[in-house]
């Protein structure tokens, strides 16, 4: 465990998280939207079309942190940050997955354009991250190699 994580856990040890695990279905159902066209797309091109991000411009201001080699494709940690001023949304796509779009994050006033998640990757592929900023779309990619381990039995 990293020093950082240990400190993190110690610091948060005092926090008694009040768990309010309840059903608030009607409220959420009303608020929720889910982009069927983009998430149902089987190719990156169709997913980008669904997102309205076809002409995204490459940008080094999008930072993708992911391992170069993943020991297992079932869990690939990905951390995305946009340093583009006025970033309102980011999307994470896994190029060779059956459905490439993994997630889209809308950041409202008060949130930083940052997200960390674990994604599944069927095979070695590029991660493609889109950012929306100032009415334009930007893109960055990073390859993650996925390997086979174990006895396979």
């Amino acid at each position: 465990m990293s020093q950082q994580r240990r400190q993190f856990l110690q610091r948060t040890g005092i926090l008694a998280a009040g768990i309010v695990a309840g059903l608030c279905k009607p409220l959420l159902a009303l608020a929720a939207t889910w982009n069927k066209d983009a998430f149902g797309a089987k190719t990156v091109a169709d997913a980008l079309k669904g997102l309205g991000a076809m002409g995204a411009v490459p940008s080094t201001a999008i930072v993708i942190e992911a391992p170069q080699i993943a020991e297992n494709g079932a869990v690939v940690p990905v951390e995305v940050t946009s340093n583009l001023p006025g970033t309102t949304s980011m999307a994470v796509l896994v190029e060779k997955n059956p459905f490439p779009l993994a997630g889209k994050f809308d950041f409202r006033e008060g949130a930083l354009p940052y997200a960390k998640l674990n994604v599944k990757m069927g095979e070695t592929a590029d991660l493609r991250v889109i950012a929306w900023a100032g009415g334009k779309t930007f893109v960055a990619t990073k390859e993650v190699k996925v390997t086979i381990g174990g006895c396979g039995g």
């Binding site: 948060t12 926090l15 998280a17 309010v20 309840g22 608030c24 079932a74 006033e109 998640l117 599944k120």
Partner: protein, 104 residues
């Protein structure tokens, strides 16, 4: 863990509050076969919402490509000790869960 606990930790970082949330969910792709060779139906979280003191700050749409038992981190500008953070999820079957805690 088909149904189980949810966990959240909101901690102050350098100029932001780090919100780490763990969810118990199978995130089925609809392509996996169970022990009897039957396809396990598609079952995954579609929406994740983060609220700060009741106001929405992050709205996420997700797919079955997110790993089982999802773990997300988000960052909220500023954030003071005691601020209320609420995270909720909604899946494709209409099930949902939420968790609330204060910034530590």
């Amino acid at each position: 863990m088909a149904a189980g606990p949810m966990r959240m930790r909101a901690t102050q970082g350098a100029g932001f509050t780090d919100v780490r949330v763990l969810m118990t969910h199978p995130m089925e792709t609809g392509q996996r076969k169970d022990a009897d060779g039957k396809i396990v139906p598609l079952h995954f979280i579609q929406n994740v919402t983060v609220k700060l003191n009741g106001k929405v700050v992050v709205e996420a749409e997700t797919s079955q490509a997110v790993s089982r038992n999802p773990v997300f981190s988000f960052r909220i500008k500023g954030g003071a000790k005691g601020d209320k953070i609420e995270v909720s999820w909604l899946d494709n079957k209409g099930e949902s869960t939420s968790i609330e805690s204060a910034v530590a």
